[in-house]
Symmetry: D3
Subunit: 329 residues, 6 copies
């Protein structure tokens, strides 16, 4: 049980605490003036990160540890140059049985059960029963469901937190069902099917145990192609299943990144594939804006200053609402 | 008064008709076997085009004519290889006073007054009175209003018809007001202002008298920059006007094509500019799909065939709804 | 039974022949001087194409025909401007039961059975029995085998003939087994597995009945992704199958085009994937050279002239051997 | 009054001086071994920059200061590792009334009044009186003139100093008037008008108070589009003004960067626009060469060595004159 | 001796003339209604081109002819649809001994001897005697001089006429010597050396006998690399020659196209190479403008219309002088 | 004579050694707490690099030294944080006469004489005696031979060691002679000639005295163009020599990088040029893989982890053999 979190540090200044963390970096360093070695580590949990040092007798402590493992530590919280750090008295490897992973990784701020039910609700209202069978074959598969409810949507950047994939998909589906009626060329059930399945390959592309990263399959195959393989398998289980629907759903998955250089082996050719690509991309960009604006706030930028250069968009961004509010004050 | 239209030809087979047209091409050609010259022209009105020939005494007839001018003709409607053509007895230059231009150019199928009122309705509900003043300064300018209600949205391609600009904008604004609530970073009044003004420069970029084309200012300056100049002038007339709003609206106009290579000198940096660019681009692409699907139908393509290669999108397209319908029959 | 082929025309000048063809184009045209209509068609078989006309009473003849169907015709062979054409007396739709498709499409000049045995021979010598099981699962699948032995490798361009896929693969495998020993990083069995399976999706991407073309699945999914789905299914049938081999083979299929813009969603990351991409690309380029040189010969170009511009390679090419031979004479 | 400049340090080694500077960086740092905090700042004026430290009682000193503000300091000049630094005894915020901004920013080495007169001289010799009226409407506008005479031409890189814009323009105009006679397609008055007005938007794109940077309008609108708005306003004031000249001048402004990706929404289409783009670009590149050569000299590079990689030109550069001179010695 | 030129046709309407031409196309065609074959050719000389037909007995006439050869013909000049053509009575192959090539290819309108002396004049005023020796080694080489004075500068496009290379170089050198003083980094002798030698490889890249085209060496090696080889050979003949000058001149030749994709294997790194590239490119672009303006005039375009799309510049162009003149009338 | 190498340090811990090194960096630094200055250098030889410090009296020692020069030092080997360093007692400039350069630069692990003989062997078996004469004219030129046997193939990256050029060429030629028979369009002697000469310009592009780097000629001209010049000179010496072979060999040299942006002024147009480009590129990529795999091993990466991002290939790589081996254990 973890009852001290890094965000609690201000209330524990100078106190000695005992808790569990992920060891996100580990270095043995030389003390000044030939004073021997000491241990310098970084501890993280879902609320943030904190540096820590251990001055003596740390060899046995770290014997079983490596970067990314869980540790149990005891130490005193100090403030140094207005930042908190910990002086460790004890540190040891912690088994997964002692751990609730949810304590260590950032988590969606929304209710996973509610989002899950919302998602199932859209599917239960499908007019097209074949697509309904198909999507429920994914959502009712216990292994897929467990992963889908927990997976982040990315290693870094947008929705990089537990439940991020589900959060991203639910948000996207809401926009899909709202905007579809404006385009009579678009079959709404097909569009929503695409929205729910387009990123399902991320449950095998990413891992989210103690930290986020890419699996080997993620690196060599990628989530688009993993999802495609999952679709082929599900369709085979559902036989008979209309071949034309299989092709149209597969096309949406393959083309949802919209450009060859983003890893889509096909460009969107159907109205649904095109709309899915545009709305998925819009979600990602809006999330990029939010991150950049939050960052600018942390940096103390003025309301009339642009954000730092945003590499993925090749430009800085600008928080217009904030600017208008400030000017009107 | 024009009372015969090209689309009426089947009802007039072998009859002699008298009517007005635009002369869209004009050639003097040699008859076979040294039989002298004859006149070969193409006549157009808003319902289509028809070839016509005049065998004798055409020199005086065409003295005042050139491609793009209006003509009055008398001739007989014949069918040749299942297509209609006209054997001309008389042809003369027609003055603009004899002409209602609306008869010669394709026109939106929607009611311009209704669209205009719908647009004004959105503005009248703005919470931001400065933006309201600004947009009404455009819409209430008689010269701008007259042009805005008539202009096409393009020379060819999407919305290339009288009223096409207004039709494009109203459709876009509808999607804007529906989708804005999903993105709290977006100021809806600012977004709608951008949607109404982004293409206003087209009223000087294009001409739409007897046919559609680019003005010299359209070629050398372009609608993005024309719109910008119009904004600068309107803002000057409205002084005092908040500088920050001027900058944000100007930024939306400048960046609405989304990429440098599409003629935008700035990339979208604000949430409103970004959303405007995405939705404007989506409208254009959906219109491209519609055109390609209509074309495929005309070509008699099967429901399981892709369209011809669409150059602007570097791919063929596929009408999924049509395909599903056919497969279910 | 087809006993007259288009290439036989010189021996039949002025004779009346009866035979079967594919109707590759069909037009009804006007005779000069108002003389009524006539039928103008193009007939093809595996040896070439020939224009034909039918002057009278063709309406019933063509009632059941459309472009791409088989027809039985009777007519006279004439020479006109040094080219042969046929004056048709009779023409009718031909059922597939009357037809041996091999007569109508170009066919590899190599022996399919021998190539097939050569291919199986490489696999039977694999040291890695899992890869052996995998490849044989494809080659021993009667449906796949039948298609694999007949499929062309492309609609146009390189190896666009019956048996072209097999011919391309066998040629590629030969180079693979020869060059692999120079690169100790490369596992030869894995490389050959990739070479045999990389294009297997073409058996569903293309159709080759009476003519060559893309299936809808070929257009919307593509052979890379079709092959991937086939692999997923075969691996499921072979369980237990080493996951690591599945990933490495799938990666080779996904990346064999070598660049995103060529439709590969992953770039080659393993030695085998890299080498497969390079050698597959080399095969295609050498075939392009051969075609360009053959074309230049037909055009009567001199030995010191470059070929026409080759669009896929963005340059003209030059037959150096031919040039050296000529210079030495 | 500032009577000690950073470049004077060698003459004041170990002396105590009192002077004003811009505070270009400010950090509070920890002394070694827990010895408390000290203040570490960087001071700049137009002659360079110098680090400074203040060991005690600095809290009040810096209360009103932030990076970019002016300060008055008293301290001792020391040499440390062959570089000068200052040990501060006193530091306080300085009001703008105490300051002559010209002391703090680098300034053109040429005489601004002379350059200004030279520029006006070219205009006064225009044959085209409309263009003359137009350019003088800018140069005689007191607000524009004041800014134009002071503005830098860039934040960093070429002509990043007070008066840099004017210096750049005068140099460019000299080349324009010399080269125009070689190209009879070019109207020299139009060309010089473009040269004088092309960058006038920089007076609002940049700010140059205590340091150089981009304004918000500079970021969201950009100098090309600002200049365009200024032109629209001036032309309106000058009515009647020939529309054709307005369009041609506006086109030159819009297209002077020569490529879409450099922020020009139009490519140069007229002889004047093309020549302006080429000569403006040549000026920038020659300035880049000069900077790179000066840098190489500072780094002590040999006369047969290329400069460091110049990112904007994607290559290193080479000082050929220097090389030839050295080789001949 | 050729005493009738194609441009003389109006004065010879209906007359029978005898003259020499280049046979630029040759076709045997069918007469209408089975009336047998006739010969259809195109005749060119330096003043233009004219179609011609020969109705009878042409087999022997063309036995020795092919496209590109010289012919002697006798025939009658007729006017047909306002264009001239010739009805041939006699036609035969013409030997080169009968021919003055200058009659058949377009020729510079400037005096070659004067241009040549002007060029030599610049060199004779070089301060750098090594560069002087080098350039004269080219200009005094009889074989090079003969070719240099005749070569066109291109197959099509800019300066595609006899003497075009010399004309291009002289024009370029004039601008070089005028502009060099503005850039003190530039060695004028080095710059002019580069201007004179940069395109010298064109004398082997192109052929200009009866028509213009690329040699095989031009296709496989290219004029940049041919020039480089010529430089290497000349430098070897001039030994001792300063190695540093050889490298700097060679660098200018290699880099004068300015971009890799234009066939320059090196980017300009020295001031002289950079300036040479800019001015050479400017010459080419101005020539492109001139051609486009001349073409627009021929097409009868209005003074307020842009030219056709110019592919090499990816834009239409606009003749501003013409526009201003018209507006002022 | 050098009898202590950096790789020997473990056996000499705490011992005092005397040896020669290249001084690859040199800095004078401040001791902590105002304790004066000390010398900090990096010493390298062919086995690696080691930091060293000299605390006192170093001014005279370094008087004649600069980065890149040879030095003789005496000092004690210490271990610090598990790395070795040297405390210097003496250091002085070393003349080249004291030095065997082979001790200081990494060297191929293969026998240079054997590789050289293998190369000559291929040439001696040429059927084409002209190509044989040409290649031997290079290999028998004592100056070229000496350089060719020693030159590295690059400054960094692939084959950056003494003898690397020869090693690269021999490896490439082996693949060439093996693969040529698969492509009957390819003349094997011409291909091997290209393989041997394509990089011969590197002997003047690079220098390899004490360290590797680019010569000025390498920077301004480049090895492709240097090789071309060498070919022109050799061909002139061999006259008479068939012009067609000269052109074909020159074309292979010019085009062997395969793309304009890689510095090839011509794209491969002949079968031999194409194959040379493909195989040369394959060699470079396989070497890149090897380096990346070796690096990953040093970093302690797991067998299921991809390598770091490889910039030249824009992807990470993956050692499939290693992965399969580990999984099978």
């Amino acid at each position: 049980m973890k009852d001290f979190f890094i965000a609690d540090a201000p209330e524990f200044e100078n106190a000695v605490v005992t808790s569990y963390f992920v060891l996100s970096s580990l270095q043995i360093r030389e003390r000044r003036q030939g004073g021997g070695q000491f241990l310098s580590v970084t501890l993280i949990d879902k609320t943030g990160s904190m540096p820590a040092v251990m001055w003596d007798d740390f060899s046995d402590s770290i014997a079983a540890c490596s970067e990314g493992c869980y540790v149990k530590v005891q130490g005193q919280i100090n403030r140094y140059q207005n930042k908190f750090q910990m002086s460790l008295q004890r540190l040891r490897f912690a088994a997964e049985s002692e751990i609730d992973p949810a304590d260590y990784l950032p988590v969606t701020q929304f209710n996973v059960d509610e989002m899950w039910e919302e998602l199932r609700g859209y599917v239960s209202r499908f007019a097209n029963t074949d697509l309904q069978r198909l999507v429920f074959a994914f959502l009712d598969d216990p292994e897929i469901a467990a992963a889908y409810r927990n997976a982040p949507a990315a290693k870094l950047l947008h929705h990089a937190w537990i439940g991020g994939l589900l959060e991203h998909v639910v948000t996207l589906v809401r926009v899909c069902v709202t905007i579809a009626p404006f385009y009579p060329e678009v079959d709404p059930d097909l569009l929503v099917t695409g929205a729910i399945l387009h990123d399902v390959g991320k449950i095998r592309e990413l891992y989210w145990k103690s930290s986020f990263g890419y699996t080997l399959e993620g690196q060599l195959i990628g989530h688009i192609n993993i999802a495609q393989g999952m679709l082929v398998e599900k369709v085979r289980e559902l036989q008979p299943f209309p071949e034309e629907l299989r092709i149209l759903v597969q096309h949406m998955i393959l083309s949802h990144h919209g450009k060859y250089e983003f890893g889509s082996p096909k460009l969107p050719m159907t109205p649904e594939a095109l709309l899915l690509n545009v709305l998925d991309d819009l979600e990602a960009k809006m999330q990029t804006l939010r991150n950049a604006f939050a960052n600018a706030k942390i940096q103390g930028k003025g309301s009339d200053e642009v954000t730092d250069w945003v590499r993925s968009m090749e430009r800085p961004l600008f928080n217009s609402q904030n600017y208008l509010k400030k000017e009107q004050e």
